[in-house]
């Protein structure tokens, strides 16, 4: 932590010259830089085509996107925690289910997409299932899935990111991105990320609950 902050001070005091490369810039950017949505959309379009070229079926494509997202999620947890509380990384480590899920649906979402997720719900049928709702994931915004692709959901990429974060935070789980018909008669399908935790997570929750 000390090494990081001294290097960022060093870069800042290095005069008025532009930082030469991404590696020289402080890791906590003030003000927060934004990436162009179009740039992301084109890059994501290539990612999907890459996955499509290497897959035999629709679930294969979703699996490829999921795996790519998982890799991102593992690294994102570190970065997001570091950037919390103005870069001092003094945020609390979440070891409860609700805590980590709220962290993801508000902080991580804001860091990635600029706004919190629409809602976080616990499933009524199963104890170990939770759902994050999102009306229009940025991955699906420009994608029209042809009829031949059935119900491919490119938000599998974001589901992978969620899974990567949860797995790095020691909450083994499976996340899937599903499409649901909108309740209020809107035209676009809403996306629901269904998070299913492993039994050991539920056991641990129970123990922590009893301890109070």
């Amino acid at each position: 932590m000390a090494a990081l902050s001294s290097s960022s001070r060093g870069a800042a005091s290095g005069g008025t010259r532009q930082n030469s490369s991404t590696l020289d810039r402080p890791i906590v950017l003030r003000p927060r830089l934004e990436v162009s949505l179009s740039a992301f959309a084109f890059l994501f379009s290539e990612i999907v085509q890459y996955a499509q070229a290497r897959s035999m079926s629709i679930s294969d494509i979703e699996q490829q996107l999921y795996t790519q997202g998982t890799g991102i999620g593992h690294k994102l947890l570190e970065l997001q925690c570091l950037r919390e509380k103005q870069g001092k990384g003094e945020g609390k480590r979440q070891n409860r289910l609700i805590g980590i899920l709220t962290f993801i649906s508000s902080d991580v979402w804001k860091g990635l997409f600029g706004k919190a997720a629409d809602s976080l719900e616990k499933s009524n049928e199963d104890e170990d299932e939770y759902m994050i709702h999102e009306a229009e994931p940025v991955t699906n915004q420009f994608v029209s899935v042809p009829q031949s692709m059935g119900n491919l959901n490119c938000a599998a990429f974001i589901a992978g990111i969620i899974a990567g974060i949860l797995q790095s935070a020691d909450f083994p789980c499976e996340v899937s991105a599903l499409l649901t018909r909108p309740d209020d008669g809107g035209t676009r399908d809403r996306t629901v990320y269904l998070i299913k935790f492993s039994p050991e997570v539920m056991d641990r929750e129970e123990r922590l609950e009893k301890k109070g």
């Binding site: 084109f42 379009s45 420009f142 029209s144 490119c154």
Partner: protein
């Protein structure tokens, strides 16, 4: 006073998209529309050659019954829209909105191959929305005598 048809013609003159924009649009066979597309492409190219001024091709055709406007992008794609004569719409505006929708919803779609026929649901929905907005706008301004909107 409605829109009639929208065509999009690719670089080699093939029709990659065509849509009826209102019930008043003529009902033709797919092959007929393909022929229309390539005919327009050739006329556009010929006009650029024989025009007395330096020009890139046909921009507007106005007749007693029809208004046609065409917009050619720097990549050679032509957006052509037709409307009934006397329509108050700014066809130029509409074509630019369609171009924007094309750049967003077609080119960023991973399932679309360049120069192939367009079949993106989002794109079709957006075109309908653009036309509906134009029609709605013109109805509101009719009382004011076609003011700017």
């Amino acid at each position: 006073m409605t829109f009639l048809q929208l065509f999009i013609i690719n670089r080699s003159g093939g029709l990659i998209y065509n849509q009826d924009l209102s019930p008043a649009a003529p009902r033709l066979d797919t092959n007929d529309w393909l022929r229309m597309g390539s005919t327009f492409h050739s006329l556009h190219a010929i006009a650029a050659q024989i025009a007395p001024i330096v020009t890139s091709g046909i921009e507007k055709i106005e007749t007693d019954t029809l208004k046609l406007q065409s917009f050619q992008t720097r990549t050679g794609i032509k957006f052509v829209i037709t409307a009934e004569a006397g329509s108050p719409f700014d066809l130029d505006d509409v074509l630019h909105s369609v171009y924007e929708a094309y750049a967003d919803l077609v080119l960023k779609n991973p399932f679309y191959e360049l120069e192939q026929p367009i079949s993106c649901q989002l794109f079709t929905d957006q075109i309908n929305r653009i036309c509906a907005a134009q029609m709605g706008g013109s109805k509101a301004s009719r009382g004011a005598g076609y003011s700017m909107y």
